[in-house]
Amino acid sequence: MQLRPLLLAVFLLLAMSAASAHAAHVVWSGLVIAENVPQPTPIPPELTKLEQTLKELFGYNQFELIGQSSKTLKTGAEDWLANSKYFGLHVDARGENDAGYTLNLKLYKEKDVLLETDANLSKSSPLVIKGPQVGSGQLLLVLVVKDDEVVHRRRHAEPANPITAGWHRLQRMIHRVLP
């Protein structure tokens, strides 16, 4: 008789694990114009974490958002568009995998496709695409999966814990068995 509460507790634990594996993520996508100007405006809050990286990579002092979109992925098969006046970034999510989401990206200049790429966007590794030169600046495309910031920072601060990684893998296995 005392086995029943134990089994119930195990079942609840598995259900909670499966539920947490189901947690929705938000993918932020932005069209950014990077430029060197005498009086740079502050970087948009969505890019604050990437400011140093962007400056080191591209050598510009101002990063201005000309279009953006945030999409909450529940099934991993959504699609959306981040638009500016002349550019459009179409993102087509084609499923979730171990590392994040498989995405098909198309950069449009009005109706023309300038660039197309397929990527596995990781939950802890942003994607930056250098687009065409626009005037004296540069068009950049940025995609970030917004995840738990504490976990995100810890993953970068220390090597991946194999036990934690194993636990996450077990959660994904349970998630596959109990969709």
Partner: protein, 171 residues
């Protein structure tokens, strides 16, 4: 006034006397048959007294000891059965714990062995393929690399795309 049955019982027991005895015997139609019946009743009474006398126990202490011993044993059995009613006995608890620990170790080893140390981290974004319109950008080239700092940004670097006028930077 006594009934006939009361007088008959008293006559059988020899408790009638004097005038009462004389009158009762005179009322009997067959005194000889009644006398014979009286003798039979007295014999039967004597026989029953003899056979139904209380038999004294000649080993009553041993008998009493046996009863006490049996009562004590019954009490012990009942308390022992009450103690084993739960499923979680100590040996079962130990075995359950050992089994759970073994399962945990096996699962951990199996899951950890799926991720060899030299394999690239699964937390990095991967570019699967990329293409630009070769008609509009015949000299375009694409590079893929990862930033060296903590952000681990994956960069898709294009060169040779057609330059656009500054108007295209409009929001």
């Amino acid at each position: 006034m006594k009934t006939f049955e009361e007088k008959w019982t008293a006559w059988l027991d020899g408790q009638l006397s004097g005038k009462e005895l004389t009158e009762f015997e005179a009322s009997l139609t067959d005194l000889a048959a009644a006398e014979a019946e009286k003798r039979d009743a007295l014999r039967l009474g004597a026989f029953l007294k003899e056979q139904l006398a209380v038999q004294a126990l000649n080993n009553e202490e041993f008998f009493s000891h046996q009863i006490h011993d049996r009562i004590a044993r019954d009490g012990q059995d009942r308390s022992r059965s009450r103690g084993t009613s739960t499923w979680w006995t100590i040996p079962r608890l130990v075995w359950s714990g050992a089994t759970a620990l073994a399962l945990f170790v096996i699962t951990t080893v199996v899951l950890m062995s799926q991720h060899p140390a030299g394999e690239p981290s699964e937390y990095l974004t991967q570019i699967l393929n990329s293409r630009v319109d070769p008609a509009a950008n015949p000299n375009a080239t694409i590079y893929i690399f990862e930033s060296k700092n903590d952000n681990k940004v994956t960069v898709l670097w294009t060169e040779g795309l057609q330059t656009l006028p500054a108007d295209y930077a409009a929001k």
